[in-house]
């Protein structure tokens, strides 16, 4: 069955979500990945928004985390205070999985979604943290969507908006952050993880038709590729559920 790159990326992220996870999602592909997991492989995952909605039915696809579509048929409609306290909560916070995106990422999975260039005289200004820094600070693991480009996989970020492992295995502890950190990076060429000892990014898999060399060519820093394998293409079931149940009007795909 034919599939698009966006569909493959969405399904790769969905496969990382397990039953019991509380999935924090942003807009666009990250929201779609959470919906896909719920419909395909993790029916007992819970979708959760920083705006304060939890366990939304999502009968129609939301286009923003404040879309009225997230407010329909929820377990509770609260506000930002509820949502962020849930993530910082010592009991349920550890079950939250964050799905994030950014303009730049470094080898330790730190993210920049604020500026390109000097913060006080930026070449390009982006939206800023929103809840991303909060999620990256609090939750046990996060999944990050990135486009493979040299200017995005940076040796040094122009601005560190959301913490990954900061500067290495003890980075978060030294800074005073709770444990946790980035788990997977889903790109348009393959999927990365993080070495359990060094906390540096490693290649886990490449998409069919792509080589590890091509991936390295699109990064400013080097990563280990010896543990990587080719990623399984989406199954017919996965694609059908994604297209028909999650985004029937093609608003995101």
């Amino acid at each position: 069955m034919e599939y698009t790159l966006k569909e493959l990326m969405t399904i790769c992220a969905a496969r990382e979500i397990n039953n019991g996870d509380i999935v924090f999602c942003g807009t666009g592909i990250s929201m779609l990945a959470a919906m896909a997991a719920k419909n395909i492989n993790a029916p007992d995952s819970v979708i959760f928004f920083e705006t304060g909605a939890i366990d939304s039915k999502l009968a129609h696809i939301p286009l923003a985390v404040a879309d009225p579509r997230i407010m329909y048929h929820t377990s509770a409609n609260g506000g930002l205070m509820d949502a962020f306290c849930t993530m910082q909560n010592p009991f349920v916070g550890q079950r939250v999985v964050g799905i994030l995106g950014a303009a730049q990422i470094d080898i330790y999975g730190n993210l920049n979604s604020t500026v390109i260039g000097d913060y006080n005289a930026p070449d390009v200004r982006f939206s800023g943290s929103g809840g991303a820094c909060d999620v990256a600070s609090f939750v046990s693991r996060s999944i990050i969507f990135m486009k493979m480009e040299k200017r995005k996989f940076k040796k040094k970020l122009d601005y560190l908006t959301s913490p990954g492992y900061l500067d290495g295995p003890d980075g978060r502890k030294k800074a005073g952050l709770p444990p946790g950190g980035p788990d997977k990076v889903i790109t348009d060429m393959g999927v990365m993880g993080f070495d359990p000892d060094t906390k540096q990014m490693i290649l886990l898999g490449w998409f069919p038709g792509i080589t590890p060399e091509q991936i390295l060519d699109n990064m400013e820093f080097e990563i280990q590729t010896d543990r990587a394998v080719e990623i399984a293409v989406p199954t017919q079931t996965e694609l059908t559920l994604l297209r028909e149940k999650c985004d029937p009007h093609g608003l995101i795909l």
Partner: protein, 325 residues
Amino acid sequence: MKTDENKVMRLKEAVEKYVTNGCHLSIGGFTLNRNPMAAVHEIIRQRKKNLHVYAHSNGQGVDELIGGGCVSHLEIAYGGTGKFMPTCIRFRKAVEAQTLMVEDYSNFQMTLRFMAGAMGVPFLPTRSSLGTDIINKWGFSENFRKENPRIPDEKLVVMDNPFDGWCDTEKVVLVPAINPDVTIIHVQTADVRGNCRMEGLTFADVEQAKASRVLIVTCEDLVDEEYLKTDPDRNQIPFIHATAVVKVPFGAYPTACFRYYDYDPVYMNAYVRAAHDDKEFEQFLNDMVYPHQTHADLLDHVGRHRLESIRADRSCGYAKDLDRK
């Protein structure tokens, strides 16, 4: 304060009286939902200047205020409206041109800052942003902070946990309280004294409202005081915080208002197209904002057909069949 005071005003008067040039303003809502857009447009129409704006993720409202030339300083977590505008365009242009001074926080930090203001404490702690540039890099200079008595000398303060590792925590970040001069929120229902009922998510509207010296409430339905008191469990803000109440049907338009109407994709897309170019944006303001005396006039200009297309279905709270491309 008289407990039976009728606070109903016209929007023009409320903005004239309370939103003064250079004042510290916060607006409610989130990205494309329940922004007090009628009030935002009135502020632009009255050509208010040098506003110091506090926002967490108030996309459309903040971007129009910036585009209208009303804002000189902005403390913010996120400028965007999701799919329509991943980064607010007039915000981005103003920051890149350095005509707008910005200080970045996270959404939780901004929420806690309003909460601290509402509680009457100088700061609240969190563990968010430790080790990041949100702490290390300042948009407002040290000098600017020292010379401005309305903002604290420090952006954020990292502190060792004074309870000696209690709750497995070594360090916390202290976020400073905000007490705006004026907060403006748009709610579904208010009464003439200023009791408020919101439906759907409340975002940080309650904290923003209670942190503020002046609270202007715009509402879809204005009811007499008995109505909200017969079902008080559903009310979030008691009248003691409110200063002015204004009835403005479709007052959040073009952003959404749960159970009343959806966002308007036609407006949002036209806005995005215009916002990329200074001349086209000026034209957009000349069409959509300046010529209309009131929000009702703006709605007349938009036309009944489009308002009907975004009207919420009773069953779900939004417009199920809306074309959102």
